[in-house]
Structures are given as structure tokens and as C-alpha cells.
């Protein structure tokens, strides 16, 4: 995003209350075009509520937001025309065929070349041969793929995907993830709601960890390193007094943890610190078995931020 180019999605102090319950508060977002942005959080964290506000399905209690240049609450019809939404449950019409489901949504969006678009998206998602089969007979994976086709049929500027791989088997989940990656490569802006950390890590350019508000936002790598940091671990046959003394002298700031067989150093730059520390240990007579860099998982960062106990509130 250049300084002149406004973000495709912008939210300022967005808030949503349901009676006395605060679902989302003080939410600020800037998402540039072509980014896959992950909203990561436990159940009840406000992810679905946030998506519903940004797709003009529900009105914010306070704050402002724009999607594709259209203001939420002011130009809601234009907002809905510019977004594609994959809801948590596919929500297809079971008695209608795959093509009929798509045709209905194409008409609601006022599209031309409806048959061409249907053929293209069914082909992209591997459903061409099921075009005239009723959606009620589809497997969960096929339903999800059809719902994705429905969300993309009108070539929306922004695509919101709410738990796109939930309840899918691993192979179907992989197909959907690959498709999301393909969308990113095609320049679509994607907002992905998930509590699947692995998925967020693999697919998203940036991730916001949220619990009612955004607790932290960054790339998967910066979230890991900024919040938990890397750890340089030197494993030895044994850490004698001389080795411990030499190592502590080399790292005198108290960061170094020493056990009977390991030296452990939390550091943002393990590659920079490893050579000097290993040299000091070897010169002190230490027998180095392995030098490892332990990188914290996104899960560790996530649990650190949101806590282990997930909220049990129902989402709107």
C-alpha cells in the first residue's frame, strides 16, 4: 500500500454492543488491497460480529468503517455489492442444483454472462461435473467449495471467509487453503476468520489476534518474534564450571539460562549471537553436541495473548 493508496478496509474505533454485552470495542483496522488478513481469536472473541459489521449486515454501535471506499451505515448496498462473504455454514439451498444456487446469487448481484461465470467458478473449484446435482446431496467439502464459488461469483473487491475449513477433512481443507492462496495471488483482499492457528500461519500475510478488540497485529513471523522471541539453545555433553563461567562472561546481561547440559539464550538474533557464544564455550573446553534455534509457535503467542480459557459467550 502506497501512502496515496487508501486501505481497502478501514475501521476506526468500531464498537458493537448487544444490550449490556460488549461484543467488539475500540477496533481499529487498516487492510491494504491484495492482503490476506487473518482474524484470529477464541470463540466469542467478536470475529463474526466484526465481519458482519464490515459487510453491512449489522450496524456498529459506535465508530466508523469503510470497505472498498464505501462507508458502513451510509452506503450499505454498495458495501454489500463490493464484498463476497463465506459464512461459517455454507447456507445453500438444498433443493437447488449447484448451478441454480449460483444463478440465484448472480441475479441478485445483477451480473451479466451468468452461465459463463458459473462454468468458470465451478471449474476452478472442481465442481463442473456436479453442476446439475442438487446441493443437498453434496459432501461438506463440496458444499463449502460451492459456497466459496458463490462468494466469488461477482468478482468482489474484498472476500470475507468465516472459518472456511471448519468441519472439513484434511484433504478438502487443503484444497480450500490452496484456493485462498490462489485468490491472494490474483490480488484479492481477503479477510479470514479462523481459530486454526496453523491455517492462519500458512495463509495470512498479517494476523490480528483479537478478543473483543485487536490485541496484536502483525505478520506471523513478527508476532512470533516480537512477542515471544527466538531462543538459541546449545546442547553439550555436560556444562562444567569453566564452560558456565565462560558463557556467562560472554553474555553478562543475565539472559543466559544454564542447566546441566544446555545453555539457553532468548534472542531476536540467534544467527548473530551463536558464533561468539559457541566459540567461548568451545574455548572453555565444552563438548558441543548441537546448536539449535527454538522458534516460538504462533500457538504460544496466541495463548499468551488471549489466555488459555476461552470466552464462552455466544457470538452475535
Amino acid at each position: 500500500m502506497t501512502p496515496e493508496e487508501p486501505p481497502v478496509i478501514r475501521a476506526e474505533s468500531l464498537e458493537k454492543r448487544f444490550g449490556d454485552r460488549v461484543a467488539v470495542e475500540a477496533l481499529d483496522l487498516d487492510i491494504p488491497a491484495g492482503e490476506v488478513f487473518g482474524l484470529l481469536g477464541p470463540n466469542g472473541a467478536g470475529k463474526t460480529t466484526t465481519v458482519r459489521m464490515l459487510t453491512s449486515l449489522i450496524a456498529p454501535t459506535a465508530g466508523r468503517a469503510w470497505v472498498g471506499g464505501h462507508a458502513i451505515g451510509v452506503d450499505d448496498q454498495a458495501v454489500r455489492a463490493s464484498v463476497g462473504v463465506l459464512t461459517e455454514v455454507p447456507g445453500l439451498y438444498a433443493r437447488l442444483t449447484a448451478a441454480e444456487n449460483l444463478r440465484f446469487h448472480a441475479r441478485l448481484h445483477g451480473l451479466d454472462d451468468v452461465d459463463g461465470r458459473i462454468a468458470r467458478y465451478l471449474g476452478l473449484l472442481g465442481l463442473s461435473d456436479r453442476r446439475d446435482d442438487r446441493a443437498g446431496g453434496f459432501s461438506k467439502g463440496m458444499k463449502q467449495k460451492l459456497a466459496i464459488a458463490r462468494a466469488l461469483l461477482h468478482d468482489p473487491q474484498v472476500v470475507f471467509l468465516d472459518e472456511p475449513t471448519a468441519a472439513l477433512d484434511p484433504s478438502a481443507a487443503r484444497v480450500v487453503r490452496d484456493f485462498i492462496t490462489g485468490l491472494r495471488d490474483a490480488g484479492r483482499t481477503i479477510v479470514l476468520c479462523t481459530h486454526n492457528l496453523d491455517e492462519a500461519q500458512r495463509v495470512c500475510d498479517r494476523i490480528a489476534i483479537m478478543r473483543r478488540t485487536i490485541l496484536k497485529v502483525g505478520t506471523p513471523e513478527t508476532l512470533r518474534t516480537d512477542l515471544a522471541g527466538n531462543r538459541l539453545v546449545i546442547r553439550l555433553r555436560g556444562v562444567g564450571e569453566a564452560v558456565a563461567k565462560a558463557a556467562t562472561a560472554h553474555i553478562p546481561d543475565g539472559r543466559l539460562a544454564v542447566t546441566e547440559t544446555t545453555l539457553s539464550l532468548p534472542t531476536p538474533d540467534p544467527d548473530g549471537e551463536a558464533p561468539g557464544l559457541v566459540r567461548a564455550v568451545v574455548e572453555a573446553g565444552g563438548d558441543v553436541l548441537r546448536v539449535e534455534v527454538e522458534r516460538p509457535t504462533l500457538e504460544a503467542v496466541y495463548l499468551d495473548l488471549v489466555g488459555g480459557d476461552e470466552q464462552q459467550e455466544d457470538e452475535a
Binding site: 449486515l57 441478485l108 448481484h109
Partner: protein
């Protein structure tokens, strides 16, 4: 308002209705029964009329003096049945109308639908017309079959009475308007309850005032004339517009989505 989107909603609903044979069967059953009632009553009640009824002191109502006693009774029986025929389509769209919003909510298809650019007025109108159209078609078929039955079993003067302007106005205008009213009320209920069963239970009650008006005519509290039918049509049209406006204004996208997740 986009008629393209309204037609899209109608077309989709129409497809679903056509593919749900139980709904189609239940909708067609009542009109067919009403046709049977018309024919059956002509075959039984009218046939029981003694030929010397006038001699026994029976006075023909005003306007029927040109008819013989049997024809007069046939006309009276038909007049009662005509009102049933006009009111029957009131009941037909209620099941579909009651399902229209809450059914989509339960099937989880409402959120994807509301995520499109469709306006509330387009959605309500599309759903209402989709439920109303089969009811009106069945109502007109029912009327045509009943007239055919009357023509087959009675004489031209009786058929002419069944086709006098009051009943034609009733069949062609009052019937769609009253069915439209019950459909709109069912859609309003559907948008405000939490499950399909409750919607259908409440919607079946909203037709009571409409049916009650019909009963008032049958028991002589209201005497139907062409003028009364014109006035009834005007009142029904006004009510349709008012209830349609209320349906759109009270359709809370947010509350529907938020209620029960």
C-alpha cells in the same frame, strides 16, 4: 427497487416449491375439496328442493323472481359457496409465507442472502409474491372448475348468476387481495419469531379475522352486493399496502441474524 432481484427471489422460491411435492399437494388439496363441495352441494341440497316450494309459501328473494324455485335455491347455495371459493386462497400461502424468513434463518441461508445487495423491500415483495402466485393460480383454477361444475349441473340462468359482476370482482380482485394480505401477515410473523413451528402456528391465527369477515357475510351480518365488494376490494388494497409497508419497516436484518445466533 429492482424487479430483477424481485424476480430472482420469486424464481428461486418457485423452484423450491415445485420441488417440494408435499407443499404442492397440501396447497392443491383444499381448492380441490372446495370444488367438490360446490358440486356436492348442487347434487344434494338443490336436488332436495320440492318442485312446489312456492305453493308451500316459500318467497323468492328480490332479484330472483325470474327463476324457478329449484334454480333460486341453486343460486343461493352457489352464493354461499362462492364466498368460500374467494376465501380459500387466503389459507394457501400461509405455510409458505410463514416459512419464508425464519425457514431461511433455520437453514442458514439467510445470512448469505442478506449479504447481497438485495433491499429489504425487494426481499419482502419477492417472498410475498412467490407465496401468493401459486395460491392465486390455484384459486382461479378452483373458480374455473367450480363454474364448469355449475354449468354442467345447472341451467344457464344459474350459471349467469354465478358469473354476475360481484363474483367476478370477488374472484379476480378480492381473492388475490385477501390472499395477499394473509401472505404479508405470515411474512411479518416469519420475520419476528424464532422457529418455523411458531411462525406457522401464529400465521394460522392471523387468517381468523379474514375468515371471520366471510362468516359475517354467511350469517347475514354483511349483505354482499357489487358495491360492497368494490368497497371490500378498496379496503383490502389499502390494508395490503399498509401491511406491506409495516413488513418492510419492521424487518430487522440485524435482529433476525442476531436472534439465536
Amino acid at each position: 427497487m429492482s424487479w430483477r432481484r424481485i424476480r430472482a427471489v420469486m424464481a428461486r422460491e418457485g423452484l423450491e416449491i415445485r420441488r417440494n411435492k408435499m407443499v404442492l399437494f397440501s396447497m392443491a388439496l383444499l381448492p380441490l375439496m372446495m370444488v367438490a363441495v360446490v358440486i356436492g352441494s348442487l347434487l344434494t341440497i338443490a336436488e332436495l328442493v320440492p318442485a312446489d316450494l312456492v305453493k308451500q309459501g316459500f318467497t323468492l328473494p328480490a332479484g330472483m323472481t325470474g327463476l324457478d324455485p329449484k334454480q333460486a335455491v341453486q343460486v343461493l347455495v352457489n352464493d354461499q359457496n362462492m364466498l368460500y371459493l374467494i376465501l380459500t386462497p387466503t389459507l394457501l400461502p400461509v405455510v409458505i409465507g410463514a416459512y419464508s424468513i425464519i425457514g431461511e434463518k433455520e437453514a442458514r441461508s439467510l445470512e448469505p442472502l442478506l449479504s447481497t445487495p438485495i433491499r429489504t423491500s425487494e426481499l419482502v415483495l419477492g417472498k410475498t409474491l412467490a407465496a401468493l402466485a401459486p395460491a392465486v393460480v390455484l384459486g382461479l383454477v378452483q373458480f374455473a372448475l367450480a363454474i364448469a361444475g355449475i354449468a354442467a349441473l345447472t341451467s344457464p340462468p344459474v350459471v349467469a348468476e354465478a358469473l354476475r359482476p360481484m363474483w367476478l370482482l370477488g374472484a379476480l380482485l378480492a381473492m388475490p387481495l385477501v390472499a395477499g394480505l394473509s401472505t404479508l401477515l405470515a411474512v411479518v410473523v416469519s420475520a419476528r419469531v424464532n422457529d418455523v413451528r411458531t411462525a406457522q402456528a401464529i400465521s394460522s391465527l392471523v387468517v381468523l379475522p379474514i375468515v371471520g369477515s366471510g362468516i359475517a357475510v354467511l350469517v347475514g351480518q354483511i349483505y354482499l352486493t357489487t358495491g360492497v365488494m368494490v368497497a371490500a376490494c378498496a379496503i383490502l388494497l389499502t390494508l395490503d399496502v399498509v401491511v406491506g409497508w409495516v413488513a418492510v419497516r419492521t424487518f430487522g436484518r440485524e435482529s433476525i441474524l442476531s436472534r439465536l445466533g
